[in-house]
Amino acid sequence: MIYREAGQFKTTYGADQAVFPVAQDRVVVAAAVVAAFVVPPLVASEYWLQAVLIPFLVYALAAIGLNLLTGYAGQLSLGTGGFMAVGAYSAFKLATAFPHLNIIVVFLLSGLVAAGVGLLFGIPSLRIKGFYLAVATLASQFFLIWLFNKVAWFTNYASSGTITAPDRTLFGALVTGPNSTAAARYLLALGLVAVFAVVAKNLVRGRVGRSWMAIRDRDIAAEIIGVRPLRTKLLAFGISSFYCGVAGAGLVFLYLGSAETLAFDISISFLVLFMVIIGGLGSILGSFLGAAFIVLVPIVLSNAPHAVGLRLPVALQKQFELMVFGGLIIFFLIVEPRGLARLWQITKEKLRLWPFPH
C-alpha cells in the first residue's frame, strides 16, 4: 500500500528509463538528500559530524569507486588503499604547490592522478582474472605505499612522513584544515559524494555500465558482441581509481586532517571491499549501506555498553565489539548473500503488498 505503483503510467521512453521510475522513490530520495544537507549541520554535535558522518561519506565514495570496478565490471581489486593514497598525496602536493588552486579543483585533479595510476595497474587485468587479478592489485597496494614511504618528495620532505591538510576556503568559508568547522567539511564531503553518486548511477545504466556488466558476466561473449575488453576494463580501473583518489583526498583533507601511509594500508583495501560485499555488489545504494554498516556498527558497539550504563574494561569491550561485528557480518551474509541493497529491495517489495501479505 505504501509502495503503490498502480496508476503511475509512463508515457515516454524517458520516463521509463528514469533513475527512479517510481514516484515514491523520487520523493524519498529527494527528501533524504535535502535532509542530509540541512539537518546534520544544524542538529548533529561535532562528534557526530566528525567521527561518524564524515568518515561514512568518505568511505561511501571509496565504496562506490570499488563497486564500479568489482561490482559492475567484475574485476576484483585489493588496491583500493593504494589508489586512495595516490589521491591523498597528490591532493597534498597540489594544495601545497599551488596554494591558490580551488580546493574542488585539487580534489578533481588528484582524482585524475589516481585514475592515471589506476589505468597503469589495470593493465594486468587484460590477461589475468579473478583471484589472480586480486593478487596483482595487491602488488599495486604494496608498491604505492612503499613509494610514498620511500620518496620524501611526496611529503614535502617532512621528517615524519606525515601529510597535513592546509587551510583552504570555498565560497569564503574554511572547508579544510584544523580551523575549519566540522559542518563545513561535512557539507563539502556530502556535496562531493552526492555529485559523484549521481554520476556513477548514470554511468552504470548507460553504455559504459552495460559494457562493464557484459564483461563481468561473460567476457568472451561480450567480446563477440563487440565490447572491447581493453578499453572497457581499463576504463573501469580508471574511473574506479578516480573515485578512490577523491575519497583518499577526502580522508586526509576532510576527515583525519593529517595522515601517514599507515592510514592507507592493506586493511583499508579490505575494509572497502567488505563494504562493497556487505552492501551489495553492483549497487550504488549498496555502497552507501555497506559503508554505513562498516563505519557505524563498530562505533555503536563501542558506545553501547556506556549508553546502557555498563562499564567494561576497554580491552574486553574491544574484543566484544570485534566479536559482535564479525558475527553480524556473518549473519548478514547468511541471511542475504547479495548484500544489504538486496535486503532493501525485498523490503520494498514487501511494502508494495503491505498490509496484505498476498
Binding site: 568518515p55 606525515t162 583525519l256 595522515a259 556506556h306 576497554v314
Partner: protein, 437 residues
C-alpha cells in the same frame, strides 16, 4: 513476528541514541586516556596505560585528588590506529578534557592541529612531533622531559663513551632499525646530521607495520655487520627484533632500543638470548621507590590496581607513572595560580608552561632518584632532559650509565628550524615569549 519487530525497533533506537549521550558540567578534572590494550601494540600499550591509571587512582585514594579536586578519566581503545584515535578524541572531547595523552606519535600529529582550536593540551611525553618542543610556535603541545631528537643524540653520545670518545665514532657502522611510521622515522634527521658531524656510517632500516616480519631487515644487518644498532620499535616489533638479533648472533650489548623499545615484554619472549640488551629511558626501572610502596598500600591492597602486582616496576609501567605524575604536577602548578577547582584547558596550559618540577617536589611525590627535575618554559616545551641507559640481565633491568645529556647544541637549532617548517603547514605565527607571563 511481533517480537522480532520489537527487537528491530529496539536495535534501531539503540543505534540512533547510543552515541548521542553527552556528559554534564564538570566537577572533576577529566582526562581522556587513549590506550591500546588489544592488537599488535598491546604488549607496549597495556603497561603504560596501567601505570597511568594507577597513579591517578593513587592520587584519588591517598590525597583525594589533586589539591582536593578528584581526577576522572576514561579509557578509549585506539589499537594504536590513527582513525580510531581521532574517533576516541572526538568522543571524549565532549566531556571537556583539560589535556590529552595520545600515546601514539601518529595520533599526536592528528591532534596537534586541533589543540589550539579545542583548547586541549596535547601532552606527548617523550614522543610525538619533536619540532613541537619549540613552544613559541606550538603553545598547546608539550613533549618534556625530552624528545626523540635529544634521545638520539644522547644515545650517540653514549655509544661514543663506550667507544672511548665521540671522535672514535669515525667510520664506525651504526644502523637505525625503525618502525616505518611517523614515530620510527622521527629520529632519522638527527641521526643523519650526527653521522655527518662525527663521520660514522649510518644505515636506516625500516620495518613495516606492525613489525612481525623482520627477516629481510636482519639479513641486511648480517650483511652489513654494524658496530652498533639503535632501534625505534613499538609493540610486537620489539620482541621480534630482540629475538632476531639473538638468532643472528648480534652482540646484544651493542643493540640499544629507544625508550619505547625496552620493556619487560620486549625481552622476556627472547629468553636467554635477550641478555645484555640495552635501552634508553628517562626514569629508573624497578619498584624501590616510595611511590611504589604507596601504590601497593593505597591502590593494590584495596584491590583497585589495574595491573598484576608483579608487573609493577616494568619500564613502561613506570613510564605511565611518570607521565601521570608530570600531568598532575602541571595541573597543580596551574591550581597554584587559578585556585583549587576544576580548571579549563587554557589554565592547564599555563600550568604546563610554568611547570618547575624540583628535586624536593620529586621527593614529596615519592619519586626521588626515580626521574629527574623538569623545568618548562614558554620557548622550551621539552626541557632537553638527560637520558639513562638500562640493560637487561636476563631477569631485570639495571641502569648502566649516568645521566647522559643530549647534544642540545645540535638538537635545538634543528628543532627551531623544523618548528618553522611545521608551523608554516598549519599557518601558525610565532608568539613573543617576552609578552607571556
Amino acid at each position: 513476528m511481533r517480537l522480532r519487530r520489537i527487537w528491530i525497533a529496539l536495535l534501531a533506537a539503540l543505534v540512533v541514541t547510543a552515541p548521542m549521550l553527552a556528559a554534564g558540567q564538570p566537577k572533576e578534572l577529566f582526562i581522556p586516556l587513549l590506550v591500546y590494550r588489544t592488537g599488535p601494540y598491546a604488549p607496549s600499550g597495556i603497561p603504560i596505560a596501567d601505570g597511568f591509571v594507577d597513579y591517578f587512582t593513587l592520587l584519588n585514594e591517598r590525597d583525594g585528588g589533586i589539591n582536593g579536586v578528584k581526577v576522572a578519566w576514561e579509557e578509549c581503545e585506539t589499537q594504536y590506529d590513527n582513525k580510531q584515535g581521532v574517533e576516541c578524541y572526538e568522543r571524549l572531547k565532549g566531556k571537556s578534557p583539560v589535556l590529552v595523552n595520545p600515546y601514539s606519535t601518529a595520533i599526536t600529529y592528528s591532534l596537534i592541529p586541533k589543540a589550539p582550536v579545542d583548547k586541549v593540551v596535547v601532552f606527548s611525553m617523550g614522543y610525538g612531533m619533536s619540532a613541537s618542543s619549540d613552544g613559541r610556535w606550538f603553545p598547546w603541545v608539550f613533549n618534556f622531559p625530552t624528545n626523540y631528537w635529544s634521545q638520539a643524540s644522547a644515545v650517540i653520545r653514549y655509544i661514543g663513551q663506550q667507544e672511548g670518545g665521540l671522535e672514535k665514532l669515525k667510520a664506525k657502522k651504526i644502523a637505525h632499525i625503525f618502525h616505518n611510521s611517523a614515530y620510527g622515522r622521527e629520529a632519522n634527521p638527527t641521526l643523519e646530521e650526527l653521522a655527518r658531524k662525527y663521520q660514522f656510517e649510518l644505515t636506516l632500516l625500516a620495518v613495516d607495520n606492525p613489525g612481525q616480519e623482520q627477516k629481510a631487515t636482519w639479513l641486511q644487518v648480517r650483511r652489513l655487520n654494524p658496530d652498533w644498532i639503535f632501534m625505534s620499535g613499538w609493540g610486537v616489533m620489539n620482541q621480534v627484533a630482540v629475538k632476531e638479533a639473538a638468532s643472528v648472533g648480534f652482540k646484544m650489548d651493542h643493540l640499544i632500543g629507544n625508550w619505547w623499545s625496552a620493556n619487560d615484554s620486549d625481552v622476556v619472549p627472547a629468553g636467554e638470548g635477550a641478555k645484555g640488551y640495552k635501552g634508553a629511558t628517562f626514569h629508573a626501572p624497578g619498584t624501590n621507590f616510595k611511590v611504589h610502596a604507596d601504590l601497593l598500600k593505597f591502590v593494590y591492597d584495596k584491590g583497585k590496581g589495574s595491573a598484576k602486582k608483579e608487573d609493577l616496576g616494568a619500564p613502561l609501567y613506570n613510564r605511565g607513572l611518570v607521565n601521570a605524575m608530570l600531568a598532575a604536577e602541571a595541573i597543580r602548578t596551574a591550581m597554584a595560580k587559578f585556585g583549587n577547582k576544576p580548571l579549563s584547558g587554557e589554565q592547564v596550559r599555563w600550568g604546563f608552561e610554568n611547570l618547575n618540577l624540583t628535586e624536593q617536589r620529586l621527593e614529596q611525590v615519592g619519586m626521588k632518584n626515580f626521574t629527574h627535575p623538569v623545568k618548562v618554559s614558554c620557548e622550551d616545551h621539552e626541557g632537553s632532559g638527560p637520558v639513562l641507559i638500562q640493560q637487561w640481565d636476563g631477569k631485570k633491568w639495571t641502569v648502566v650509565s649516568d645521566w647522559i645529556a643530549p647534544m642540545r647544541d645540535v638538537v635545538r637549532p634543528k628543532i627551531e628550524a623544523a618548528a618553522v617548517e611545521e608551523s608554516k603547514k598549519l599557518g601558525y605565527t610565532m608568539r613573543d615569549c617576552a609578552k607571556e607571563k
